[in-house]
Symmetry: C2
Subunit: 241 residues, 2 copies
């Protein structure tokens, strides 16, 4: 997928392939897969490439940019599913499912994907595909334009939830804390609505919740008119209109 460094002579292993941006990012992807995002540091990556951290700054301007490049590289593996069987809603659900899947597989990256503003070519290709599916489904352009954000944000959040937090072990601990806090609250008369909900708050297979969430968004996006842009004069007054 990335640079092919031509073997200069015929040694067993070219002991030091020249540094290139693609080579760095390829190495970064492999460190990510093997050890997770928290281990994907400039120093660790430099060690992998048999050089010093300072050398990487020729090709990558900082850690954030490195992470963004790695994310886009991974998004290249999301199949864009040219119009297949099923409704357009199914296609979108599949596409977002693949997107979420990539992020979950690469666990810890999902969390920082929530924070980045990706702008790589693979990300744009996904946006394009989503837009065309929405339009093909008859969703008005203005709603599709704003809806894209909601869909991608949701798909990313789902992955972030599933990704291990902290140190692999803490993942479960937060959930346990929330579950027990919830159970305790349900025995507390201060929380009547919570008590009435039973186990439903945390119930259900993640896959079903994910699919339901997307259905909610698609229905809402198609059905909710955009607000009229407020006329110039009234822009700064709030809560009046």
């Amino acid at each position: 997928m990335v640079s092919t460094t031509p073997p200069r002579s015929r040694r067993e292993r070219p002991s030091k392939p020249a540094l290139t941006r693609d080579g760095i990012i390829a190495a970064a992807v492999s460190v990510l897969r093997a050890e997770g995002l928290e281990r994907l540091t400039m120093r660790r990556l430099a060690a992998e490439l048999d050089t010093g951290a300072a050398s990487l700054y020729v090709y990558v301007s900082n850690t954030a940019e490195l992470h963004a490049a790695v994310l886009d590289e991974l998004l290249g593996t999301v199949p864009l599913t040219p119009a297949r069987a099923g409704t357009w809603q199914d296609s979108i659900t599949r596409l977002l499912g693949a997107y979420t899947g990539v992020l979950i597989d690469n666990a810890s990256l999902a969390r920082s994907a929530l924070v980045m503003r990706p702008s790589g070519v693979h990300y744009l290709a996904i946006v394009e595909r989503l837009l065309s599916l929405l339009r093909g489904g008859g969703v008005a352009d203005d709603r599709a334009a704003w809806g894209i954000d909601l869909l991608l944000q949701y798909a990313t959040s789902i992955a972030a939830e599933h990704a291990p937090r902290g140190g692999e072990v803490d993942a479960a601990r937060d959930d346990v804390a929330l579950t027990s806090a919830l159970r305790e609250a349900q025995r507390n008369p201060l929380y009547p609505a919570l008590s009435a909900m039973g186990d439903d708050l945390l119930s259900g297979p993640p896959e079903a919740r994910r699919a339901w969430g997307i259905a909610v968004l698609l229905r809402g996006i198609a059905a909710t008119p955009r607000p009229d842009p407020e006329p110039e004069g009234t822009r700064s007054e709030e809560g009046v209109a």
Copy 2:
């Protein structure tokens, strides 16, 4: 709001108030407000409290727990708006707006709020209030139970988007990168749907986008039936039902 350390004698400034969990968290909140989350480290916090980092571990088990405690403390300032004027949808929009506002004001915390599973009392109070508003609006319990997650996740994401990323300055840079990548893509025939969208993808005042997003969710949540739980036998087969 937190511990009142009784002045032991009558010095100008009690030079070293005893450490307490509440005192630590109060100090953490003030460091957060003054310097942001990236500066809220164990070492920095210890310095603020005139002690060593190791001492904090008596009251706080690690950095993640500290951040969670700080978040819940801040959520205590979200007004729970006892049924006021307007529709139940308005009430929810207001409540989530306040929630988002707190996170935005405390900027960098929003990003980690996306990752935590909060379970503090103030968070639970917000969940309770949201649930009761949904139920009051006639939303079915099972949909409300799953919908809560969507609403809170969305409100948190919005704040994370607005929060400064990286080093205060990088905030704008990602956006600029995305904007220009988008504009370039719009001149590329590979992206017909994108090209047709014009400026709509990034347009609109954040406030309007936020309100539209919530309207989308509320409409979708109320209108989308939960999937039938699959019968035991077919659970592991995929894509057949």
